[in-house]
Structure formats: structure tokens, C-alpha cells
Amino acid sequence: MFRYILRRLLLAIPLLLGIATITFFVLHLAPGDPMDMYLEPRLRRQMDPAVMELIREKYGLDQPVHVQYVKWLGNLATGDLGESFRYRRPVADLIAERIPYTLQLSILALLFDALIGIALGIFSAVKQYTRWDKSVTVGSLIVYSIPGFWLALMLVLVFSVNLGWFPTSQTRSLDYELLSWSGKVLDRLWHLVLPVFVLGVASAAGTARYMRNRLLEVLSEEYVLAVRARGLKERAVVLKHALRNALIPILTIYGLALPFLLGGAVLIEKVFAWPGMGLLAVEAVNGRDYPVILATSMIAAVLVVLGNLLADVGYAIADPRVSYGKQRPA
């Protein structure tokens, strides 16, 4: 298993290199001078050209693109992500500040997704062709189709503005520092309810649909019949024998769901003024903060690659048929 993980990690390197390269060159194809963003043009005109040159030199903008690229890659390899134009601070620090918020949101949403989605999927499959099943399938498609950021706004309208049950935005209350230890935890959780729900509910709907179809497929397999013929209770047939087989491909789906979750997180963070990586990326794009754009894209890609790796490792653990390195069975 250790060798398998190591091999997967090594395989991820060219992947990340490719992503880094694409990101870098796309960014340098963009029109305009990054210096425009560093200083307002009005200020620039008043500034001593020599100072300007110094700044250019400091950020390496005076060198040809390929030199900048090699330098940037070298820095990247040592974990140096450069300095933000906008905050005038190391990008690594900024990301270290922001990333926990995004992970909090994404991981909790993923948990919500797994619990609700899988449970609903099983329920729907077991009740196949009943009204319950129909409501779950149609209901989940509806939920799946609602854009998360709009749903977030509507929920804020109802539950925060009108009912006052949940905060409208932010990660903590104004009086957070005055709260006791347990009060702080509760306050944090209280702020997490709406964003996590919105982020998780759409993917839970997707999971439920997938889980239902997958479980129904497994339930029609001959070994399920064989297990029934051994006199096992229907509960054990479905929840033990069939479920384990149905869950395995779900793991891969979770690996693939991560990019979408991160994409969704960008929008949700905007709605709830949640200071995560997504919001940082949006600010960076709007402010042409090149080092931050590069870094957030890279980090997002790394998260996705890691997510896939975790899913594959989980797959290998859950399915004894996967002999590592071989193609997985269809």
C-alpha cells in the first residue's frame, strides 16, 4: 500500500507541473502590464522611473517570460509562492490564513453529502418504484439543479433576515472574543450551518441519485440472490452485502466531486463573506494580483490531485480486487 501511494504521488508530479505551466503562460498571455495593478497608473506617472525599475526587478518582471517561468518554478519547488501585489505580504502566509476556512467548509459539506446522500440513495433504492422513491429521485434532481449561490441567498433571506435563526454572513459573531470556550465553538458552528448546508445539499442530491442507481444495479447481481438463498435477513443482504459493493465506486465519485465542491465554495464564500481561498481567488482575479492567482490555482489543483489520490487509496482498501497499479475492474 505504501508503495502504491508513493507511486501515485510521483505520478502526480508531472500532472502538477503541467498545471503550473498552463497557469503561468495563460497568465502571461493576458493583456496589460502587471505593474498597472501594482500601482495605479496615476501614481505611476508621478513616480521616478528608476524606482519603477527597482520594483520591476524586485518582482522579476524585467526578465523575459521563460526566465520568469523557470524562476517561478524553482521558487514553487521550495514552497516560495512570491508576494502579493495587493496585500504586500507573502502569498504563502495569505493562503495559510485562508485555507482552513475553505477546508472547514468543504470537509463538513462532504460529510453532510456522504451522510444524507448515501442514506437517501439507499432508502430510495430499497423503496424502488414507490411514491417515496419517486419523491427522492425527482426531489434530488430539483435540488441538484438549483444554483447554490442563489439558494444561499434565498436561505439567508428566509432564515437569517426574516426568521433570524442564523447569521447572514461571516465566520463568527462580533462578540466572539467575549464568549466562553464552548460558546466560541457553538458560535462557529452556528455560522457554519447555512454555508455547509448549501454547499453540501446539491452534491448530496447528486450522491443520492448515483447511490440509488448503483445499489439497484448491485441488487440485481447474482451474488445478491445467492446471499438471499443463504437465508440472510433482507437488512443484512442490502446493508452489508449489497451496500459494500455499491459504495466502492462512490469513492471515485467523491474524488471527482472535489473540483466541483471547490468551485461551489468560491460562490458560497462570496455570498457569506467567508474568508476562504475562493474569496481570495476572486479578489485576486478582480485585482490582477498575479502571484495570488497563480498560487490559488496551484493550491486548488493540489487539493484536487490529493482528493483523487485519497479516493483511489480508499478504493484500493475497500475493493480487494484492485491489485495496485492494475486497471480497476469496470
Binding site: P14, L15, G18, I19, I22, T23, V26, L27, A30, P31, V138, L141, I142, Y144, S145, I146, P147, F149, W150, L153, M154, V156, L157, V161, S220, E222, L258, P259, F260, L262, G263, G264, V266, L267, K270, V271, A281, V282, V285, N286, R288, I293, T296, S297, A300, A301, L303, V304, V305, N308
Partner: protein
């Protein structure tokens, strides 16, 4: 059937001048109702929005100019199709549509799925509305006139969806927004499908080193969080509508490419391709004539799904303020505007979001219906 039993030919042809009546008389109720509804709808638009139509006919603005021509063309097409179809029915004496070709089987299976059929109608209606937006819209979507008096008016008969902070009619903006959102969705998917199909076909057909290199590129693009990529590209290039479409299309072709490659690889094994090879068809023709048509059904399903996704992506980007920028209305930037007004005017965000959700849902239902229709489940005959 006795000749005298059949309604008079002349009557039928005259009746079908009002499209659909001929079909109804022939007993083709489904087709007849559809044509009649379409024709009545178009005529109603023409009558009720006559002034707007006349304005649009000679409008200097391309959208309005096109929209007026579209309305006339649609009317003419409905009438002539209905005439042609009735004549064809009379000529062939054949009202039996229960054929056995795969396409007909798929069509019947699709028709059995009520939700999918409704979804298809909703989508067609949305596109019709989008195309006619300049004629249908009661107010100018962009111009600002005495905002202090008309700011944040709640929904009423005059302003169905209310007004925004500049006093603009949100119903009109939503109609124009439909044309922006829907055309972006469709065109971006066309780009993505075209690139993906070509790319996957080349990789699958040639195999070997070419396949290997091409697929590693796909791996890299797929590993990228798509929305981040769109965000970066759209933001940096300060995209206009055309560029936005191109970027959405350029970032979404990988799934199709992988799929088509797999199909090509599996179809390549089948004998009829070998047959085609044996009689000396060049490989380019083999791909175009045999492989691509064979793989198109599942692509159609994923295309329907993708349009929904693209509409959502555009809305998301515009919501973040980097897609379609105000004052041009899109459902996404209208919702963004609505976020700022959430405390005072819920309707600003509510209506465009509802339309957005209905559209995406319709595409998802359509995709579901297509999938079920094109891929009939094998029946349980395993144990017999």
C-alpha cells in the same frame, strides 16, 4: 378506409392554413395541438406587441432587428410545415408512427417520459422567449429613467418581476438575460462538444504515441478545478460575451474527449469498421462516416447536461462580477445585484434565480429522458 370517410382534401388544406387544424381533423391530435399552440402564440405576440414589433423591424440594434425577422420566419415556417405535413399525410395515407428503427423506438420511449417531455417544452419555450425578448420586453432593459420614482418597486401587473435600484423593469431585464444566458449555454456546449469529439476521435483512432500524449494533456486539464480555471481566464482577459463563450467551451471538452476516445476504441474492434477498412476507405472517412455517428447518442445526453452546467457556470461567474458585466443583463449579474438589495427588495434576486433553476432543471430532466430513451435497460431475462 372508404374514400368518403375521409374529410375533404380542400377543407384540410384550407384548415391547415391555420396550422394544426388539418392535423386535428386527420386525428393527429398531438402534432395538431402543438402546431396550433405555436401558431396562436406567435400571432398573439404579433398582435399584442404590434408596436414593439414595428419598432424592432427597423431597429438599428441587431438583437431587435433579428428578433423581428425571427418572428416572421417562425410564423411562415409553422404555416408551411403544417401545409406540407398534411399533404404528405394525405398522400401516403399513413398515420402509423410506430416504426421500429432505433430512432423511432427512442422517440417513443422519450415520449412516454412525461417529465422529460415537459422539460423539452420548457426549454423550447425558453429559447423562443429568449429569441423574441426585444419584442416581448415591455421596457428598455438598460436605460435608466427617473430612478428615484421607480426604484425598488415590488412586483405588480405593470412590473411583473418588480424593479431594481435604477428603476429598471426586471421582467424586461430577465427576458434579455434569458437570451444572454441561454445562447451562452448552447454555443459553449457546441464548442466543447466539437473540440471534444474531434480530439477524442483523433486520439482513439490513431492510438499509440499520439493517443498517449493527447490523453496526458486531458489528464492535466481534468485535474484542474474547472471553475477556478474559468474564473482565472474570464477574469484576466476581461471577457466579453463572445470570449466568455469561447472560454467556457475551451474548458469543458475533456469529458467528451475521453468518452469519444473510449467509444472509438471499442467501435474500432467491431467488424464493420474492419469491413470498411478492407474495401479501402481512408481512415478519415471511417471516423466521420461510421465512428462519430455511432457515438453521438451518449454525447447528446451529456450535451444536454452540459448546457445546464454552462448556464450555471455563466451565472456563477457573472454573480462574482467577472462574467457578463452590467449594464448588460444576465441572470447571474441580476442575482448579484439582488444580493446587495436582499434586505429591501427580495424580488431582484428571486426571479432571475427561479428562471435559472427552472432552466437547469429542464436540461437535467431532458438529459435523464434522453438517457433512458437511448439506452433501454436490458430486461431481466438473465435467469430464464
Amino acid at each position: 378506409m372508404e374514400n368518403s370517410d375521409r374529410p375533404n382534401r380542400a377543407l384540410l388544406l384550407a384548415g391547415s392554413l391555420l396550422p394544426g387544424v388539418g392535423h386535428l381533423l386527420l386525428g393527429q391530435r398531438r402534432r395538431g395541438t402543438h402546431l396550433l399552440l405555436l401558431a396562436v402564440g406567435l400571432v398573439l405576440v404579433l398582435v399584442l406587441r404590434w408596436d414593439a414589433f414595428v419598432d424592432a423591424l427597423s431597429s438599428p440594434r441587431l438583437a431587435a432587428w433579428l428578433s423581428a425577422r425571427f418572428l416572421l420566419t417562425a410564423l411562415a415556417a409553422t404555416v408551411s410545415f403544417s401545409l406540407y405535413d398534411v399533404r404528405r399525410s394525405l398522400a401516403s395515407h399513413e398515420h402509423d408512427h410506430s416504426g421500429r428503427s432505433p430512432f423511432q423506438v427512442a422517440r417513443r420511449r422519450f415520449a412516454e417520459n412525461q417529465l422529460a417531455v415537459i422539460a423539452l417544452y420548457v426549454i423550447l419555450l425558453m429559447y423562443l422567449i429568449a429569441a423574441l425578448a426585444p419584442i416581448l420586453a415591455p421596457f428598455d432593459p438598460v436605460a435608466i429613467e427617473n430612478p428615484t420614482e421607480t426604484q425598488y418597486l415590488a412586483p405588480s401587473w405593470q412590473h411583473l418581476f418588480g424593479t431594481d435600484e435604477f428603476g429598471r423593469d426586471l421582467f424586461s431585464r430577465a427576458l434579455y438575460g434569458a437570451s444572454v444566458s441561454l445562447s451562452i449555454g448552447l454555443l459553449a456546449v457546441l464548442i466543447a462538444i466539437t473540440i471534444g469529439t474531434a480530439y477524442g476521435a483523433v486520439a482513439g483512432f490513431f492510438g499509440g504515441l499520439i493517443d498517449n500524449v493527447l490523453m496526458r494533456v486531458v489528464d492535466v486539464v481534468i485535474a484542474f478545478p474547472v471553475f477556478f480555471l474559468m474564473l482565472m481566464l474570464v477574469g484576466i482577459f476581461e471577457a466579453n460575451v463572445v470570449f466568455l463563450i469561447v472560454i467556457l467551451g475551451l474548458t469543458s471538452w475533456t469529458g467528451t474527449a475521453r468518452f469519444i476516445r473510449g467509444e472509438v476504441l471499442s467501435i474500432k474492434q467491431r467488424e464493420f469498421i474492419e469491413g470498411a477498412s478492407a474495401i479501402g476507405l481512408p481512415s478519415r472517412l471511417i471516423i466521420l462516416r461510421h465512428i462519430i455517428p455511432n457515438a453521438m447518442a451518449p454525447v447528446l445526453v451529456s450535451a444536454a447536461l452540459m448546457v445546464g452546467g454552462m448556464v450555471a457556470a455563466e451565472a456563477g461567474l457573472s454573480f462574482l462580477g467577472i462574467g457578463i458585466r452590467p449594464p448588460t443583463p444576465s441572470w447571474g449579474n441580476m442575482i448579484s445585484q439582488g444580493q446587495d438589495a436582499l434586505l429591501v427588495a427580495w424580488w431582484v434576486a428571486f426571479f432571475p434565480g427561479t428562471l435559472l433553476a427552472i432552466t437547469i432543471l429542464a436540461f437535467n430532466l431532458l438529459a435523464d429522458g434522453l438517457r433512458d430513451a437511448l439506452d433501454p435497460k436490458t430486461l431481466m431475462r438473465k435467469f430464464v
